[in-house]
Amino acid sequence: MYQLAAILTGRGAKLAALLMALIFPLLASNEYQVYVMASAFVWAIAVYGLNIITGYCGQLNLAHGGFFAIGAYTLAILTADHGWSFWPAFIAAAFSSALLGFLVGIVSLRLKEHYFAIFTLCVGFIIYLLLDKWEELTHGALGIRDIAAPNGLGLVDFSETRPFYYLVLGFLVFAIWFMGRLSSSLLGRTLLAIRNGDDLAESLGINLMRNKVLAFVLSTIYAGVAGALYAGMVRFVGPEEANINHTFDMITYLLVGGIGTLFGPLVGTIGIVWITQSLQFLEDYRMIIFGPLLVLLVIFMPRGLVGSFLGWKYRKDAEAAQAVSAKQDAASETRVSSTQSDGVNEHA
């Protein structure tokens, strides 16, 4: 079991996972499964963004779904109403959510904790209302159709599910790679220091606003990119994209996977997306099962799947270390085992 854990956290496991992802469309029994997986990947990208601001920087952003919608709508409006082709609109989508993220960030990040959370909740709701009411721009409740699919430059047709799957996979791999880079870099440490406490971070010469805004903008870029990919996949967007439920969903994915960990967002998103699909047969009863499930998970596995796994492995590591230096004082050893590892250790 422990050996298995070691393998699972090794470099080989990551390559194997990538390989699995690459051949998944060949193993899948039909296109629907590929489609679900692709949509899980799109959500996962957005959840990675949430992980930056919430997991690493400690600010619970409840407008994340709103920024996702901004990305989707930018792409939709530019391609459907203004005839842009996909990729320029895609860049514009990332840019517009970043710009809005910047503006919201410089106001909201002065607020602390729940104030920030509820402020962003309201921002998210305002985004929803604007998408719903500003008809000249967004077509209001009618939504926007005929959105361009990603342009394959004549080589591939991304309106087909399988090519699109690989496209999203590419973005996802990049998103994770960058996240890993970030979290182990000086910048990532800076964000963690802020999560740990504003005062101390400031006394270390860290510019709070600048770093928080940076993290916020980065997270909105992730959201915007995911939103744009989503629009390119579904090819229709409506104001419901900005529904607060999407934000709740993403937080759930993050928490189930493991907040502040590198692979938590991926595991959580894929896991829940498939569980939701398979609970479909329960129809109205679905939430009766899903709600308590969520509660149980939060109570009994508060650090999520990946977080718990890492904690468990960390303990085993400590025990292994103990076996080597058997002379250590018994107390201090058990102490090591009782401490909790965190996302930080994953990269340390």
Partner: protein, 235 residues
């Protein structure tokens, strides 16, 4: 008054207290000496019912309080003035003090009487009585905390490092106060780093190290003990 028999406390797998047996007699002032992390706070919290011992018995005046709820412990006359103060920061100083008398809430006259005594003890609190406790300086908050504990009319007062962060003048006053409270008949168990000052007013002392009681003795013996001097009094 208070008796601990083979008490053991665990945090997860870590044993913070191991086989602790001790007594505090009626009217006695007992000091608990120990370095940081020795387990003083843990011991206090176990007595107060904030954590449940994994083994052993705690009795107060013959009544078993092992695993009792904190409110039951307070009702039994054992009140703690905690490390870190644990005040109600947005409530006024006065409200903090009054809540200290929560278990005596029906006895209005008694509360007023006690309140006068406390304010006499710490006159500065009189000036600050309507200010939120959280806006007071560290030392002032410590006074509120002690005052709040006294409002509970303890028969056994547990004081966890009451001199932490206090000015020398105030430390002196605090120790005098403790001594006075004790002389008036309240038993006191005092955890301190400031061993010299504490021992000077104490009857007896225990030394705790790594969760185990390693030494016990009366005032003179402790003050005279070379190891104690070296470790806790300095020079």
């Amino acid at each position: 008054m208070l008796q601990l028999d083979h008490v053991e406390v665990c945090y997860g797998a870590f044993k913070a207290l191991k086989d602790v047996s001790m007594t505090v007699g009626q009217g006695e002032l007992v000091v608990l000496l120990g370095a940081n992390g020795a387990g003083k706070t843990t011991l206090f919290n176990a007595i107060s019912g904030l954590i449940k011992p994994s083994a052993g018995d705690i009795t107060v005046e013959g009544q078993s309080l092992t695993g009792a709820k904190p409110s039951a412990v307070v009702s039994a006359g054992v009140v703690q003035c905690p490390e870190g103060r644990k005040l109600f920061p947005q409530m006024s100083v006065m409200q903090n003090l009054l809540l200290g008398a929560y278990v005596h809430r029906r006895d209005k006259a008694g509360i007023q009487q006690k309140l006068r005594e406390v304010l006499e003890l710490f006159p500065i609190l009189e000036d600050k009585k309507d200010q939120p406790a959280g806006s007071l300086s560290g030392g002032q908050q410590q006074m509120v905390a002690i005052g709040r504990a006294l409002m509970g009319r303890p028969r056994l007062l547990l004081l966890d490092e009451p001199s932490l962060g206090l000015a020398p003048l105030v430390v002196k006053q605090v120790f005098e106060t403790i001594s006075r409270i004790n002389r008036q008949g309240t038993s006191v168990l005092l955890a301190e780093q400031n061993a010299f000052a504490a021992l000077k007013i104490a009857h007896r002392a225990y030394v705790i190290e790594g969760g185990r009681l390693v030494m016990e003795g009366d005032q003179a013996a402790m003050l005279g003990n070379e190891d104690v001097r070296k470790a806790y009094i300095g020079a």
